[in-house]
């Protein structure tokens, strides 16, 4: 019966290699000093999922505090404006800097990229470990900052508020500074690995599209993140030494900070979304059992998105006081982003056409991504159009838009990838029905939460508001209920994924019929990935029947 519903290959009773990367060496020290990209990827995965949990709890608290206009629960006011400001700041900062930026590249890509290339490891294994330790140090600094006074600046650290407010802002800024280097190290590693460690016979256009996406991401990480580092260092100097750079009271310019900040943070949006798109480009051909439609168009669109990401930062500042000519130019350039994004969408649909589509959990996430990212992209057009943006910017419309892109896009794709590679990483299958159920819960909850926010924002509800006018109350109630459905979905996911770890290893080497090299090794892979150096036999996503031989 299983086989009539799904494409899953029968569970092979292949002799499993006794030693794999998980049990080749033992003890905590062997993990802490490992230079194995797979172990580092797993440690990153644990790290970013913990960050996602913390950020998610903050998100649920933010929504909860907006449930009632008087912020009361059971007849008592339980939260103040100061606490609320800290909550949404920490939600944003944790989700952006600790979770979503490292999510796909540092965890999944770290694990998968060398396998896909047929390599033993990344080009610089020690740098890879250093990147993880920097992430840990950054995370510890961020958590310390939360405990010792926290931050109420918003994750954007806009000056002069951020240079004058109380709290341990400097520590948080330095945490993000350190996390930036962790991101740069990962980027350097992936660029070098993709260039130098491809398997024999693997040309650039034989690369899985996941690699194209991650490669484009890595370029942004290396080129854009230093600007964030410099900006935050200047901000810290202004806070600590009172050097006038951004605060007009001491001779600075707050708009300059916004330029600097978005010069990184707009490309950072593509650090977040490109890996998500990269995962979708794996899931759709694999679960459609059909070759990727328009491979080169999708590959080029990843690179062009990476390049465009550097010249559209001013669209965050249409009403912030930048020159009006700049505003017009940035609006025009912003519309260009729609083109490669659209090309990807259409090619994914083209791949599904006449496919042999099995709706296993990763594919459910892929289809969720298509629908949610479509809404995220289309609402971006509202914000790119100048006259409409004047009304919508800084409202809940923007909040909903970027959640559709970041959560509906990247987070959904990330969990699609987690489910896709879970058998490879852990050697275990999870419960497919619970997987689909959790995906449906998250999809429904997400739309309930954020579709209402589009309406609220259009009606004029500004973002980062603790108190709101009574007319917005019904929308806040619906949105908060939606957040509970999302929370339930993720709780379900955590339960069945953890439950799968208690089983003996049961995953076949290639449960989904994937065509890329990571599926040719055992699940979980051995310590050095492959028994022998793999050689590329045919291009990825080639689902033509094998010429009968064996």
């Amino acid at each position: 019966m299983e086989h009539t519903l799904t494409s899953r290959a029968p569970v092979a009773d292949l002799p499993r290699p006794e030693k794999n990367y998980l049990n080749a060496t033992t003890g905590i020290w062997s993990w802490m000093t490992t230079v194995d990209h797979k172990r580092i990827g797993v440690m990153y995965l644990v790290g970013v999922l913990s960050a996602f949990f913390i950020g998610g709890v903050f998100a649920l608290l933010v929504r909860l505090s907006l449930l009632s206009p008087t912020h009361t629960l059971f007849g008592k006011q339980w939260i103040t404006a100061e606490m609320y400001n800290r909550l949404f700041t920490l939600h944003g900062a944790v989700m952006v800097f600790l979770f979503i930026i490292p999510s796909v590249p540092a965890s999944l890509a770290n694990f998968v990229l060398p396998l896909m290339l047929g390599a033993k490891d990344v080009a610089f294994p020690r740098l890879n470990l250093a990147s993880f330790y920097l992430w840990v140090i950054g995370a510890v600094m961020a958590v310390t900052s939360m405990i010792t006074g926290a931050v109420d600046t918003g994750w954007t650290f806009y000056t002069p508020y951020s240079t004058t407010t109380e709290g341990s802002v400097t520590l948080m800024i330095m945490a993000v500074f350190v996390l930036g280097f962790s991101s740069i190290f990962t980027g350097i590693n992936f660029v070098a690995t993709t260039h130098k460690l491809r398997a024999p016979g693997m040309g650039w256009f034989d690369l899985p599209l996941f690699i194209w996406g991650i490669y484009a991401t890595a370029i942004i990480q290396v080129l854009a993140t230093p600007v964030l580092g410099i900006t935050l260092a200047l901000l810290a100097m202004e806070r600590v030494f009172n050097i006038g750079i951004f605060d007009p009271k001491i001779g600075g310019d707050p708009v300059l900070f916004q330029h600097f900040f978005w010069f990184y943070s707009h490309p950072a949006v593509y650090i977040m979304i490109l890996p998500g798109m990269a995962i979708i480009s794996e899931l759709i051909p694999t679960f459609s059992k059909k070759t990727m439609f328009g491979y080169r168009a999708v590959a080029y669109s990843s690179v062009s998105l990476a390049l465009l990401s550097f010249i559209v930062w001013g669209h965050h500042m249409f009403v912030a006081g930048q020159s009006q000519l700049a505003t017009v130019v940035f609006s025009a350039l912003t519309f260009l982003v729609a083109i490669p994004s659209g090309v990807k969408m259409f090619n994914w649909l083209g791949t599904m056409y006449k496919g042999n589509i099995s709706l296993e959990t990763p594919m459910c996430y892929a289809i969720s991504f298509l629908l949610l990212f479509a809404i995220g992209g289309l609402t971006g057009i509202f914000l790119g159009a100048l006259s409409v943006d004047i009304h919508l910017t800084d409202t809940y419309f923007v909040v909903a838009h970027f959640h559709y892109v970041m959560m509906g896009g990247t987070v959904i794709a990330f969990f699609g990838g987690v489910h896709y590679w879970w058998p490879k990483i852990t050697g275990r299958m999870y419960n497919e029905n619970w997987g689909r159920f959790a995906c449906a819960l998250i999809f429904i909850g997400f739309n309930v939460t954020f579709l209402t926010q589009f309406v609220m924002g259009s009606l004029g509800m500004p973002r980062r508001y603790f108190n709101y006018l009574p007319i917005y109350h019904p929308y806040h109630v619906v949105s908060t209920i939606g957040s509970w459905i999302i929370g339930l979905g993720f709780a379900t996911m955590a339960a069945y994924l953890l439950a799968s770890l208690r089983k003996p290893m049961d995953a076949p080497d290639n449960p989904w019929g994937g065509t890329t090299l990571e599926w040719t090794t055992s699940s979980p892979p051995t310590e050095h990935n492959f028994e022998d150096q793999p050689v590329l036999q045919k291009a990825p996503y080639d689902y033509r029947p094998e010429p009968v031989a064996k």
Binding site: A81, N85, D152, G154, P160, Y161, T165, P248, D253, P254, V255, T291, M292, G294, Y295, A297, V319, A320, G321, V328, S331, F335, A338, I339, V343, F346, L349, G350, M352, Y353, K354, N356, S358, L359, L371, I375, L378, T379, I381, F382, G384, A385, L386, S387, V388, I390, H391, D394, T395, S458, L459, G460, P462, R463, R464, Y465, F466, L469, D542, R544
Partner: protein, 354 residues
């Protein structure tokens, strides 16, 4: 489709709002069509081509014609939308020359408005219906943002520079002003009321000099002290008997005094004389002073003149004269207004107009 527009967008309070809404609704319908264009195939294909064991899929690698089509059509759409948005932006960016100008000085967490004649209000503005109004804005501390949803305008307020925003209000009555750039603890309480007045209502408001008058009409001398500082009197007239650099007579102890004019006449400093000195300062010049004072005709309201007189009286009178008669501010009754206001020069708590 008006019901749909009004379900998603606030009431339209300006001509500009109509333009924004037209584009918004056009984009809404375009998005609905495009979303169906993506969602329908995604769901239909997943069902139509659902998994069947052994089915062989065609090896379609690409189709150049299709790629060109779905690159060029979105590009053309985007160019069109860009110019449509730009068209609205040009109107938003350039204020008409005949606009009434109102200065905004924002600070945590209060809106301060100042009219060309010096009238200042807090968290409350009155503008004339169908008359373009331009706001020239700056902040005293952190970033703020002047957002009037009904007018569809918004602009950041940046410390250390001036930004501007304008609109032509077309709907009489009360509208909502809200801060849209995060500014800390009181961010969401930083609200103001915008009243779009008829000429009559507006004149009444201007006559009484803003809501501050409500607070000060019972204390004319305090009201006058504000005018003394705000209208520039203090540049030339001290209130402690000293002589300022500009060299006008000090106001201390001047009330009820017989002053000798430069033509030798003796004049009693009383209401008539003080009023004349403000509005026609060249009429009588006190002996020993230059005729340099500019006229304040048109710059001072009746209430302000009376306040100034009360303030001068409060500074003590000439021991040889009689006691000054108490002043009561009687001129035009202020229109009843909701909300409260802050005294200038002191921080008032942001009012909550809920």
């Amino acid at each position: 489709m008006e019901w749909l527009r009004s379900a998603m967008l606030p009431p339209q309070g300006s001509a500009f709002a109509g333009e924004v809404d037209t584009l918004y609704m056009a984009l809404f319908w375009l998005s609905v069509v495009l979303f169906i264009g993506i969602a329908f195939p995604a769901i239909y294909f997943a069902w139509r081509y659902r998994f069947k064991p052994g089915r062989v899929t065609p090896h379609q690698t690409h189709n150049t014609m299709l790629e060109i089509i779905w690159t060029v059509i979105p590009l053309l759409l985007c160019v069109g939308i860009f110019f449509w948005g730009l068209d609205g932006w040009m109107k938003y960016a350039v204020a008409p020359g005949e606009s009434m100008q109102i200065q905004i000085s924002a600070k945590k967490w209060i809106w301060q408005f100042e009219y060309p004649d010096g009238t200042r209000t807090a968290n409350e503005i009155h503008v004339l219906i169908n008359k373009p109004v331009q706001f020239v804005m700056t902040s005293e501390d952190v970033l703020h943002d002047f957002f009037v949803p009904d007018m569809r305008v918004k602009h950041d307020i940046v410390p250390g520079r001036y930004t501007q925003v304008w609109f032509t209000p077309t709907v009489h009555g009360e509208h909502h002003v809200t801060c849209a750039e995060y500014c800390g603890k009181g961010h969401s309480d930083m609200q103001a009321k915008l009243f779009v007045d008829t000429r009559e209502e507006f004149d009444k408001f201007m006559l009484t000099g803003g809501t501050e008058w409500e607070d000060y009409k019972m204390k004319p001398a305090d009201w006058g002290k504000i005018q003394y500082e705000r209208k520039g009197c203090k540049t030339c007239h001290s209130i402690d008997g000293s002589k300022t650099a500009q060299g006008g007579p000090s106001w201390k102890g001047i009330w009820g005094k017989m002053e000798e004019m430069n033509d030798g006449k003796q004049v009693l400093v009383d209401e008539a004389y003080v009023r004349e000195s403000m509005l026609q300062p060249q009429a009588k010049i006190v002996k020993g002073y230059e005729p340099i004072m500019p006229t304040f005709q048109g710059l001072l309201r009746e209430t302000e003149i009376q306040g100034l007189m009360a303030f001068i009286k409060s500074l003590g009178n000439d021991p040889n004269g009689g006691p000054p008669a108490p002043t009561v501010l009687t001129l035009p009754p202020p229109p009843a207004k909701p909300g409260t206001a802050a005294a200038p020069g002191q921080t008032a708590p942001a009012t909550q107009p809920k």
